[in-house]
Amino acid sequence: MTLRPEIQFSHTFPDDAIEDEDDFVQWPGRNVAEALKGALQAKGYRVSEPVDAQHVGWDLDIWQGRKRLGLQISLGDADVNYLIARNMTFFLWPDVKLFRAFLADLQDILGADHRFGRIRWFPKGGISADVAPAAVPFDD
């Protein structure tokens, strides 16, 4: 089974970056992270407040029971934006089933929210490697 945890998307969220005369005071994407947090909570996940990762974007720590997952939100412009989902369960015995369910939930959330568009799913490392994307997060 191929999992595709890297997602490229477009969006219509307002630009929430805050800048002073020198640089960013708040990097863009907190509003996207908040929206994803709410949607994931509605699906039964425990989700942290968005964690500021500066030029990289925002991080969400996500738990299902005691098992941990993660989501990185990196905003470029309206068209080039990335979500990177992470399976943070025990590395010697990762819970692939949970991660697959998480990706399926993420697909539902992105599909149901009209502010997200042009969703493309890449395998791990696929964005950097410029591999062809897919329309779904995994193949059965």
Partner: protein, 387 residues
């Protein structure tokens, strides 16, 4: 990628055609002027038209060249006058000399790092040959690492023995040698030990050289303290050169405002990149929380080489972290996105990611790894650095 021969030939052919058209146009223009002025201008064949046009274009180019070199000479003269003027003002002179020596210090630290890594690399390559059983077979007669080492050891032993013998017979000679060495160091490191240069420009040069020597000593002593062989993230030091170098970012296709922004020093408060990722949490049995901030953002984990430019920090981060792709650019430079993939960067493979992604103090602490890894990276640096 560079231009192929056929692309070059096509480009040259286009240039020749364009030049032909321009020469023809210049020739006809000159012909029209000659008729209006009642002068004779015989252009009876296409060849004559082209030759005459080419001559006109060449004269134009020569005139433009002369204007440029006049302007350059003028600017040079003005710069020399400013320098002389500054040299006559004691306050400006002292400030300039101090600043020049400081610049020399920075250059010297970099030079020290380069020398250290070169030494490490050569040493490690030699050590590799020493343990290679095939080295004797693959090296020319008498040139294997083992034979070279044997000769070097013999020569060194002979030199030491000779020197000791000389020292016993002539103790004052040894003292003189020490004195010479001390004088040499004094000359190289102490600005007061050599006479002031007769011109202000010469004085700046002298202070820069002394500053550079001081910087290299500083590097040598400093690297001893933190563990030497890591040889110090020389790459990190050299990156400092891109602060203010907006030409590099212009060449990547950014607009001038963005290039200037990327050439700014990376802010001290910036997150940098983390060897152990920030998302790492303690095991549940230890409470499951984040690792101590003092470690996570400390010098052994946070990678943000001092003096690195913002653009280079993004490039470094992109190269060592496969999860970092884009960074927003602020509105003051027109907005938009910095995208590592769009400027042709690639992620490092795992070994290089471990090396480049680890801060200098961490490298320095991994003592035994230093020489081998240093050499490996020294060899691959050039290839990777060209990206």
């Amino acid at each position: 990628m560079g231009e192929s021969i056929s692309e070059y030939m096509k480009r040259r052919a286009k240039q020749v055609v364009r030049f032909g058209r321009e020469a023809e146009a210049a020739s006809y223009e000159a012909y029209g002027k000659a008729i209006r002025a009642g002068r004779d201008l015989e252009l009876s064949s296409p060849g004559q038209v082209m030759r005459h046009g080419a001559r006109i274009l060449q004269e134009k180019a020569d005139r433009a060249g002369a204007v440029v070199s006049n302007a350059a000479r003028h600017t040079q003269r003005q710069a020399a006058e400013v320098l002389q003027h500054a040299g006559r003002n004691p306050v400006a002179r002292s400030a300039a000399v101090g600043a020049t020596r400081l610049a020399g210090n920075a250059a010297g630290v970099v030079r020290g790092g380069v020398h250290a890594v070169e030494g490490l690399a050569d040493g490690a390559i030699f050590a590799g040959r020493l343990v290679n059983p095939l080295d004797r077979l693959t090296s020319p007669r008498g040139q294997s690492a083992e034979e070279q080492l044997g000769r070097a050891a013999l020569n060194a032993a002979r030199d030491i023995a000779n020197y000791t013998r000389k020292g016993v017979n002539d103790p004052n000679g040894v003292l003189d040698d020490i004195k010479d060495l001390r004088q040499q160091w004094n000359r190289e490191l102490n600005p007061a030990a050599t006479p002031v240069a007769p011109t202000f420009a010469g004085e700046l040069r002298r202070n820069f050289d002394i500053g550079q020597n001081q910087g290299e000593v500083l590097f040598d002593v400093g690297s001893l303290v933190v563990g030497g062989p890591a040889a110090k993230a020389v790459k990190g030091l050299s990156r400092a050169a891109n602060v203010g170098n907006d030409a590099k970012y212009l060449a990547q296709g950014h607009n001038p405002e963005t290039a200037a922004y990327l050439a700014e020093p990376y802010p001290a408060s910036g997150m940098g990149s983390h060897f152990v990722p920030r998302r790492t949490r303690l095991p549940e049995s230890f409470g499951g929380g984040p690792l101590p901030k003092s470690y996570m953002d400390g010098p052994f984990n946070r990678l943000a080489p001092p003096g690195i430019s913002r653009g280079d920090m993004y490039e470094l981060h992109y190269s060592v972290d496969p999860k970092f792709h884009v960074a927003r650019l602020p509105r003051k430079v027109g907005g938009g996105v910095w995208h590592g993939g769009k400027i042709g960067l690639e992620n490092y493979g795992l070994p290089a990611r471990l090396w480049h992604g680890s801060p200098a103090p961490l490298k320095a602490r991994i003592g035994g790894l230093g020489a081998g890894a240093g050499a490996t990276m020294y060899v691959t640096e050039g290839k990777e650095g060209s990206r």
